[in-house]
């Protein structure tokens, strides 16, 4: 039944969008992390979406990879900082806070829309099941 596929499709979008929201949360939390897990400044993470067929037809979406942003790191002159280089510059993460906020709004709107699609499919399914009652 096609309505079940809608759950799979919208569900895949919910998963993908929440992965994007997760990346945004990491980026915002680490917007000023001078030292990351590998000893270098944190690099902004971006998710890559790809269309993927779901079981029985229909096209869902999935996150194929999480890539480090290629944007140049922010350099801040702060010679008093222990992390400063010989010229007195501190390398800060390449997180663009404004961009991340926009990303967050976009992800949450997309999540809402897909949740709505699921709700509509559920309502219609319930109505179809009640035919003749």
């Amino acid at each position: 039944m096609s309505d079940f596929k809608i759950f799979a499709i919208a569900g895949s979008a919910l998963t993908a969008q929440s992965a994007r929201l997760n990346a945004v949360a990491s980026n915002l939390a680490n917007a000023d992390s001078v030292v990351g897990a590998d000893g270098k400044p944190y690099r902004a993470k971006q998710v890559v979406f790809a269309a993927t067929p779901v079981e029985g037809g229909g096209i869902g979406v999935r996150v194929t990879q999480v890539v480090d942003s290629a944007a140049p790191a922010r350099m801040q002159y702060d010679p008093a900082n222990p992390a400063a280089d010989e010229k007195g510059y501190v390398t800060l993460p390449n997180v663009n806070v404004v961009e991340e906020m926009v990303n967050m709004i976009s992800a949450s709107r997309a999540y809402q829309t897909n949740a709505e699609v699921m709700n509509t499919a559920k309502t219609l399914m319930a109505k179809t099941l009640a035919i003749g009652q």
Binding site: M1, S2, D3, K5, I6, I9, A10, S12, A13, A16, Q17, R20, F49, A50, A51, G57, G58, I59, G60, V61, S106, A110, T113, N114, V117, T120, A121, T123, L124, K127, T128, A130, I131, G132
Partner: protein, 138 residues
């Protein structure tokens, strides 16, 4: 009696099938609103229903398939039960990432389609109610 019922309801059933399929396509479009290079698709309700009902001089649409000219060729179908009735949507505004999903269009179409499907469900319900009333002789 049963085959008459079947005949009576077959058009609505086919229409519900097309509506259900369209719902699925629109859900795919909405799910892929942020996927690079994804192209939005929609089904032409009229030709899809004609393909499903067939007969009465209407040319039925055949599913789009790959031509197999050699024994070793893979079969593969168009991936759609309604074949040529499924088309790519003409885009309003191009996006840099090659995505052609217009969220407003998709949401409006989804809401409209859900309403139409609900109307069909109502038709079936009322049809059954009428039949029941006839049977009970009230």
């Amino acid at each position: 009696m049963i085959d008459r019922l079947e005949q009576d309801l077959s058009t609505i059933r086919n229409a519900m099938g097309v509506r259900g399929y369209r719902q699925e396509l629109l859900a795919s479009n909405i799910a892929n609103a942020d996927t690079p290079y994804y192209k939005a698709r929609d089904v032409d309700f009229k030709s899809a229903l004609q393909a499903a009902v067939g007969g009465r001089g209407v040319p039925t649409l055949q599913p789009v398939t790959l031509a197999r000219t050699q024994a070793g060729h893979l079969g593969g179908n168009g991936g759609s039960p309604y074949g040529g009735a499924v088309k790519y949507r003409a885009e309003y505004q191009g996006a840099v990432d090659g995505n052609t999903v217009n969220m407003d269009v998709e949401r409006a179409a989804f809401a409209e389609n859900a309403m139409q499907l609900e109307a069909l469900i109502l038709f079936v319900n009322k049809r059954f109610e009428g039949l029941q009333r006839a049977i009970q002789g009230q």
